[in-house]
Symmetry: none
Subunit: 338 residues, 2 copies
């Protein structure tokens, strides 16, 4: 037996040399900053190649750092569990946090008791920052985060949110207008909407975009609104809309889950999609490819949203400046339901 | 760009500086000791001014308790996000932990890097225990937990798991046998199975139950197996099964997601369900009520499983004895697909 070979610990310098980039670029990746996807890929490969492990443990307590970032989705729990966007946002955020050696901890809020305990957790030094999905203005958590100045980024934002807290999202108004416009261009004349979650900016904005696209032809009688972006409410909302206007030939559903429920109702009512009724959704979630026919919808870049939110929180933790708001592209994806 | 938000947490030092007193005096106030009323008033004002929050993480770590329990699902990430059972297990566990004032922290494992960091998190005193879903024998996390003797309970268990680690689950063999038996009783003659995840006890056990129900009539040519319990593999597995045996009239799919994919393939192939082919799934997840027709399946009491797993971990943390294994009832639910 020979003794173990004394291996020198790989450094950022080694990673930079192997990736053919500067140390600054490597540090940006490690700290969650922006680099091109090519550089990121080269650096990730180099990290694996040289076996680089950041040395963080020693300084962690001295710096009062937990190296953890909370992830909270302030959605009704049943929706949280079924919304594929939230999962994708979570994975995008985790990828960035992981590379920066931060542990993402997801915290479930399912009761007032949870809300209070999570509040104590967030303010108790267990996390250095937080990503908050679907905050509303009056959430105690939203108020708490502003009070304790925890580095935090919102995914979407409540309409009257303190603008000092950055957010990452999409242009819901513009995207809703674009997808409705396209429905009009396919010749639909009586177009209704199953609106949802009007107490959030996303829900309110999608309705605004719908109105803008229709302009003078907008008819408030053709809008039904439901509380949540889910399948069961899609079924109910579509029934109400059909009762009100049996001859409609176009429907904008505020999410793909709502559209899937609406599709089921149209099927029960003997209305063929897209022959009799053109139907469009929003999100491009896994629902969109599973319905028969597949859904024409708006693509939400959920993973990218998660990545940007994590980068924003890491920059705040590092004391670096951040964009107060980031809006990512959300193009229309035209499939078979319209 | 805006300037950086103040990311550093306020310390006792900041409070002392703002109040114009020594740190010792601030600590006396924080610990309930005597100080003059003027000094107390100045310190309380300073605490509010600088936004000081006592670091509970540090004081809890000093007591060697985090009051937190980790929740890990060792599933491929895409499956984790789409499996409604995992969400229900999580909510069941959270309800019990919340009542015992423990914070549940969900940890995503999406890469080897995550696996290593989560390992450090679990062994670093950040949690007092863990609930592990879908562990497999060779998961590094499973080995680590056994090594460091972290209070932990598995939901399901790898076949050769150290029996000192308790688990909560259902009788997959008995339930698979019962649902296949019922398919036979409805007069199906050529019954196939889309098996899945044979590297886990749940997947292997469901196949065993299927074989037991068919007895002498079991035909290995009528079993196709796919790696994961998901919709896309259900589509593929059913195609392979139909190619092999176009005349089959009964199918047991290893999960509802697999059954939903199989249903889609049968529809494409022009086979009516249940008229031409009887189809049964497993899980009674949200898939079961959304397919057309709704699925006959086995009910997994996912929330109850989560509750029992959390109770088991809390008992271990308290040093109380626990049942080495808990099997909950999982009855057949007969709907319209068979």
């Amino acid at each position: 037996m020979t003794g173990p070979r004394k291996a020198r610990r790989a450094t950022v310098h080694d990673v930079a040399a192997a990736a053919g980039v500067s140390r600054g670029t490597v540090n940006r990746v490690l700290n969650g900053g922006y680099v091109s996807s090519d550089a990121r890929a080269a650096i990730e490969a180099a990290i694996a190649q040289v076996g680089y492990v950041p040395n963080r443990a020693a300084s962690q307590l001295a710096r009062q750092r937990s190296q953890a970032v909370g992830f909270l989705a302030l959605e009704p729990h049943s929706l949280l569990l079924e919304d594929p966007n939230i999962g994708s946002i979570m994975l995008g955020a985790n990828a960035v946090l992981s590379l920066a050696d931060h542990q993402m901890v997801s915290l479930v809020i399912d009761s007032d008791r949870d809300m209070q305990r999570v509040g104590r957790y967030l303010s108790g030094g267990f996390v250095d920052g937080a990503i908050i999905v679907s905050a509303r203005s009056h959430d105690p958590i939203t108020r708490l985060i502003a009070e304790i100045r925890l580095p935090a980024t919102f995914v979407g934002h409540p309409p009257d949110l303190d603008r000092s807290i950055p957010f990452v999202g999409i242009d819901n108004i513009g995207s809703a207008r674009a997808v409705t416009q396209r429905l009009i261009e396919t010749g639909r004349r009586r177009i209704g909407m199953v609106a949802a979650a009007l107490d959030r900016d996303s829900g309110a904005d999608r309705l605004t975009g719908f109105k803008q696209a229709l302009g003078d032809r907008f008819d408030p009688a053709l809008v039904v609104d439901v509380p949540l972006y889910d399948y069961a409410y899609g079924v109910k909302g579509m029934r109400a809309l059909l009762d009100r206007e049996p001859t409609l030939d176009g429907v904008f559903a505020a999410s793909d889950a709502v559209a899937a429920g609406a599709l089921e109702t149209l099927r029960e009512a003997g209305r063929r999609v897209p022959e009799d009724v053109g139907l469009v959704g929003f999100d491009d979630s896994s629902w969109a490819m599973r319905t028969q026919p597949s859904l024409s919808t708006v693509h939400q870049p959920a993973r990218e949203i998660g990545r940007h939110a994590a980068e924003s929180v890491l920059r705040q933790i590092a004391g670096d400046p951040v964009e107060p708001s980031v809006l990512l592209d959300s193009p229309v994806v035209w499939r078979r339901s319209a």
